[in-house]
């Protein structure tokens, strides 16, 4: 079953040539017709189709369009051209702890985080205990999260994002935090979810992470798909290319 389908997707950012932050200035410029924009195509003509249960790695240099691609899939950015279709619930694990509020307790943050992902209070309450248990935060769940260590916050955020029942997980290097035990736990959970037919897309600069976790890799360069194929072939090609790039510099 196909779960993600991108057809000729282009995403164009409009960047004002000069950053105009004030309304006064904007109005004056507008009257003088001096508001100029540059178009930046962060994603160009991308075709991508993903089957349920695939684990896809996305690689490329900084600014290649990886994060933008995720934002297009997760509906944050409507495509400028082309068509995006997604079947199922998307859970973006882009920045762990995004939306956490330090003054709120762990429990309150779980409720909030889960609502941000579009789940109802009832659904979240049922899952609360399991989330807390997985994150191993039973003793701290009623303390404000500003007292948490980075690792604790990351565990809680990962637990919320993956315990709710997403069909598609978009992971943006979020797993690079936490100790080895946490990383292994994340890995195990991803395996479990994959067993249930969930789909993953993972952005990472670490080819090792990609090789360990993915069975297909998409290589982006300047917003275009350069290669799309099995992990070994694409990561090797990318590695070779990167070495060549490094030599040229």
């Amino acid at each position: 079953m196909r779960v993600i389908e991108l057809e000729k997707v282009t995403l164009r950012y409009r960047i004002p040539r000069e950053r105009i932050l004030s309304l006064k200035e904007y109005t004056i410029r507008k009257i003088q017709r001096r508001v100029a924009y540059d178009d930046l195509e962060a994603v160009k003509d991308v075709d991508l189709s993903v089957e349920a249960g695939e684990r896809i790695g996305v690689i490329g240099r900084n600014g290649a369009g990886k994060s933008t691609l995720f934002r297009v899939i997760s509906r944050v950015l409507p495509p400028s051209d082309g068509r995006v279709r997604v079947a199922g619930r998307v859970a973006p694990i882009l920045e762990l702890g995004l939306g956490f509020h330090g003054e709120l307790t762990g429990r309150e943050n779980v409720m909030l985080q889960s609502a941000l992902l579009g789940y109802s209070r009832g659904e979240t309450r049922q899952r609360l205990d399991r989330i807390v248990e997985w994150a191993e935060l039973q003793d701290f769940i009623d303390a404000p999260t500003r007292t948490y260590s980075t690792g604790m916050a990351a565990r809680l955020a990962f637990a919320v994002a993956t315990d709710v029942d997403p069909d598609i997980l978009l992971v943006d290097e979020a797993l690079a935090v936490g100790d080895e035990r946490f990383q292994r736990k994340c890995h195990d959970r991803m395996e479990t979810l994959r067993g249930r037919g969930k789909t993953f897309m993972l952005v990472s600069h670490s080819l090792n992470t990609i090789r360990e976790n993915c069975d297909r890799v998409v290589w982006l360069h300047h917003g275009r798909v350069v290669r799309d194929g099995d992990t070994a072939t694409v990561t090797d090609a990318y590695h070779q290319w990167s070495l060549g790039e490094a030599d040229r510099v």
Binding site: R75, L112, A115, G118
Partner: protein, 276 residues
């Protein structure tokens, strides 16, 4: 390319009008509105000893101070000045706090909405929710003043929910426009601060409209707040249900502002993600 098996939950090509889509999404994310209101209340009171009491104490202290000042000025004109002033000032506080919250939260809200999909109208809705909670709480000190000054609690209070509903429509419209503008321009918030200060004095809150000289009445009649404050204050202070004409005028004006705000907001929300 066969796509028979793909039953999309999200399809960028399915373009319902933005204003319908945003409304449908807001309804879908109503649980988030609830959570955001709770978050704002909890965060506000977490580290404060007085907690909720502060919400009630603040207008009370404010009222005492202003009453001392203005009751000297308007001694002859207004009977039971404390009740008159307080009824108007909690109405004003509801409007100004809610719109200010929407304006001040737009930056953080957009940062969040740039990273994960959330209909942005939830942030405006939560500002309104928070404002309503505060409005409810500030009715208590008003009741206290009624008791202390021996002012009657009129049966016309029963009309207040209708007044609050109409005022909320208007507030929501203004909040949507402000949220959109502050998302784009950094200086709008300050400009609004100046505007609302002026607006406060152009609205009969500390004074009675009858003291306004005749040639300036036109300014009053052009101020939407002049009508809205009446439908709010009349049931409390005059013991009267506002006339049908006044209610219909306020209602249609508020609906117009809300519709304008909603359409402008929805029109802009598609491009907000590209703004930085």
């Amino acid at each position: 390319m066969s796509t028979e098996t793909l039953v999309p939950v999200y399809d960028s090509a399915r373009r319902r009008p933005r204003w319908i889509e945003e409304a449908a999404d807001l309804w879908k994310y109503r649980g988030l509105v609830h959570e955001l209101v709770i978050r704002d209340i909890k965060v506000r009171y977490k580290r404060s000893v007085l907690g909720m009491v502060w919400t009630m104490l603040a207008p009370l202290l404010n009222m005492v101070a202003l009453t001392l000042v203005f009751s000297q000025l308007f001694k002859q004109a207004v009977r039971n000045y404390p009740v008159y002033f307080m009824a108007g000032s909690i109405f004003w506080a509801y409007f100004s706090q809610t719109t200010n919250t929407a304006a001040s939260q737009s930056q953080a809200s957009n940062d969040l909405a740039k990273r994960m999909y959330v209909p942005r109208s939830v942030f405006v809705a939560s500002a309104i929710g928070g404002g309503l909670v505060n409005l409810g709480l500030s009715l208590l000190p008003l009741l206290l003043i009624l008791i202390v000054t021996g002012f009657p609690l009129y049966p016309s209070w029963a009309f207040l929910p209708v007044s609050i509903f109409i005022v909320t429509l208007f507030t929501a419209g203004v909040a949507l426009i402000l949220f959109t503008l502050t998302s784009r321009f950094a200086d709008v918030r300050e400009m609004y601060g100046v505007l609302i200060q002026t607006w406060f004095f152009l609205t009969p809150i500390v004074y009675e409209p009858s003291i306004v000289p005749f040639r300036y009445r036109v300014i009053l009649s052009l101020n939407p707040m002049y009508y809205l404050i009446q439908i709010f204050r009349k049931p409390i202070y005059d013991g009267l249900v506002p006339s049908l004409g006044l209610v219909l005028l306020s209602l249609s004006m508020s609906v117009a502002v809300l519709v304008t705000g909603w359409i402008y907001f929805c029109h802009r929300t598609r491009t907000m993600a590209y703004w930085s």
